[in-house]
Amino acid sequence: MFKTFRPGGIHPSDNKLTAGSEIRGLPVPGQVSIPMNQHIGASPKILVEKGDLVKVGQLIAQEEGFISANIHSSVSGKVLKVDAVVDMSGYKRKAITIKVEGDEWLEEIDTSTELVKEISLERHEIVRKINESGIVGMGGATFPTHVKLMLPRGKKAEYLIVNGAECEPYLTSDHVLILEKAEQILTGTSIMMKALDVDKAIIGIENNKLDAIAHMSTQAEHYPGIQVQGLKVKYPQGGEKQLIQALINREVPSGGLPIDVGAVVFNVGTLLATYQAIQKNKPLFERVVTVTGKYLANPGNLMVRIGTPVSALIEACGGLPENTGKIISGGPMMGKALNSLEVPIIKGTSGITVLPDTESTRKEIHNCIRCSKCITVCPMGLEPYLLMPMGERELFERMEEEWTMDCIECGSCSYICPSNRPLLDYIRLGKVEINKIRRARKN
């Protein structure tokens, strides 16, 4: 029996062109730029300066503040500059640029492929190690993982939810990880269960990946307390609140966190990184990135060092097609359009999607005909048709009353609108302004 969330959701064509294509290692590029703003929260303190020699896995920036994360070098070589470079946001931000010399890893990193199942670390040691290893949510949210493990006082986790839904069209990085690294992910899950002191974990996988469901189910038999649950294909199933509702039928309260209903959610990539950090002593400095697009000659799932420019990935997949109109970090539903090919890959980059010019521009906007499709598809039960004119007229207090802050920005409303109205654009504007109003209220 396959489960799903309600209300809302859409069925965009999934275009999983790279499903079933094995992970290919991308050769280490000649130079990397490792941004300091890779995660939600404060930028870390930079520990190296121009001219320093670094090794693969070496700490180059130390977390600073409660919500922050360490950053490690993904290559060996010489620090060229500590400077601002254009990152995925389109703005210039602090980054460490390293000229690559060889590929010399720190000695303490265990590079053998042997599976280590035995968990020798204690709970607090696991959290500390995850913190040291710079692990953040790899599904795209990039929230520092160790912070998620420090539960608020009085809260108890009951379920560990593993996000393998991968509902975003085109992307297959989680899919390929499940197929190739199931045991590592399961061990990572066991580590997290120990860290959170829970005995139940559920792995949610959408049923357009039946091979992944089958493989994971077989492997999970050897891991007590871990269950695999198939999910009906529906976007945005991988949304944290939607996934929790689909799997354990609990609704995270408005403005609340998953822990309010006893759940903690991790993406499969995060769990693989956890395994590598705890069992192999390997900090987070590389990840799988799906490089995809209908007109790419050779799309695939690449193992990429953090800081590699997007252009190197596209080169490895056959170069940029003539008709390219848009390059997206992530998938077409929630990804971010890039303005340059030279921006570096970060910890949260799950894919690079190349769209042809025919699919890159928006269509002409018409009047709202109140067809109510936006309400029907909204997974949070909002009324986008109503919020957009409020945003246009700057009625931000009214927007707040209409639960705008609950919006998860999945884009289902803009996707479905027959009048091509930019609903989500105005809802985002509203969220920014409501946050300003809330901050002003506090002061």
């Binding site: 209300p7 965009p12 069209p169 509702q245 609990r250 609704e251 309260p253 408005s254 403005g255 609340g256 209903v261 003539e322 390219t324 109109g325 848009k326 390059i327 997206i328 077409p332 539903m333 990804g335 971010k336 359009a337 890039l338 303005n339 999607t353 769209l355 699919e359 890159s360 521009t361 928006r362 269509k363 018409h366 009047n367 709202c368 005909i369 109140r370 109510s372 499709k373 309400i375 909204c378 997974p379 949070m380 039960g381 909002l382 009324e383 048709y385 609950d406 920005e409 884009g411 289902s412 803009s414 996707y415 479905i416 609108c417 027959p418 009048s419 091509n420 989500l424 654009d425 985002r428």
Partner: protein, 332 residues
């Protein structure tokens, strides 16, 4: 590589558009049109084409010369208004009245509020009610089914089942006598009865409904709530006083109920947006229709019922909200 487009997500859009939805409605109206041509002949074709063309022309003229914006007639909504207006007119109506009705529907009913999406009332019904009140004689002469193949203005006329029912009850006839004067239910179901161009064939309208549901152009809530309300309301009356009241099937198959429930009441712009609101709206339409039919002066009440509930739609939309995710949990 040309210039990269930068825009916020989502970068994908489904292929649905306003014009595709409107053309879907037109396709759904086709079966009823064909049945109407079969029973009423050339008159159906004349008034439908006239109303369609005049609605489109009036909308183009008003947008181009009065509102001074780019005409949006290609979205197909004016065409739908035209067809729906024609469908609730008798097929022997003079062309000038059809054009006048179209003018009122588009100018007063739609464009005076700012065009598609802004009108509170169903434009086709605004045109129809204007004609009905201003020209009651012409609007209540109904061509007979199956005999007027090429007759248009000179079509032979008769009464509709609802007229027969109203007048006979008024003159004190018993139900068993009245039933001899009205067509068999199976004839009413396929459309062999007097009435407006597009309202007669319940079967064809239901085929249209199925198409609309399959294409997901509308949801089932509004048609089902209206028809169910009418069936329950008239059913109670029939059970309590079978000698004075026709059975619910008569009410479901006669007059403009089916056309109204499937195509008029479901107009996006003028109907509620949440399922619960749709139920309130549908029940309201059902109740008002039966009240007018049974207790009112007019034999038919669907058009007034829909317009009255159109007026309540903004209120319903304001107070009936979707269930917010996580709201109940937050309060509990």
């Amino acid at each position: 590589m040309g210039i990269l487009t930068i825009s916020p997500s989502p970068h994908d859009h489904n292929s649905e558009s306003v014009s595709k939805l409107m053309y879907g409605v037109i396709i759904a109206l086709l079966p009823a049109f064909l049945v109407s041509v079969y029973f009423f002949g050339i008159g159906t074709i004349i008034i439908t084409l006239t109303a369609m063309v005049s609605c489109v022309v009036f909308e183009w003229l008003i947008q181009r010369f009065l509102m001074k914006e780019k005409p949006a007639i290609s979205d197909g909504s004016a065409m739908v208004t035209g067809i729906l207006l024609a469908f609730c007119l008798p097929t022997n109506l003079p062309i000038w009245l059809v054009i006048l009705g179209s003018f009122v529907a588009i100018s007063v009913g739609k464009m005076s509020f700012g065009g598609l999406g802004n009108n509170p009332f169903n434009p086709a019904l605004v045109g129809r009610v204007f004609l009905f009140i201003s020209f009651p004689v012409q609007l209540t002469s109904w061509p007979e089914p199956g005999v007027n193949h090429f007759a248009y203005l000179d079509a032979s006329t008769g009464a509709t089942p609802l007229n027969i029912m109203k007048n006979s009850i008024k003159s004190g006839e018993t139900m068993s006598e009245i039933l001899l004067d009205i067509p068999f239910y199976q004839d009413m179901f396929i459309g062999r009865m007097g009435g407006s161009a597009g309202e007669i064939a319940a079967a064809a309208l239901l085929i249209g409904l199925i198409y609309l549901l399959i294409r997901k152009i509308i949801t089932w809530h509004i048609p089902v709530s209206i028809l169910l309300t009418v069936a329950v309301f008239t059913g109670i009356m029939w059970l309590s006083e079978p000698a004075l009241n026709p059975n619910p099937l008569f009410h479901l198959l006669s007059g403009g109920l089916m056309l109204g429930a499937v195509f008029m009441a479901t107009d996006y712009v003028t109907s509620p947006m949440i399922a619960k609101g749709m139920w309130i709206y549908g029940i309201g339409i059902g109740v008002i229709t039966v009240v007018i039919r049974v207790f009112g002066a007019y034999p038919e009440g669907v058009q007034f019922a829909i317009l009255i509930m159109n007026a309540f739609t903004p209120l319903i939309n304001k107070y009936i909200k979707p269930k917010r995710f996580g709201k109940e949990v937050a309060n509990g």
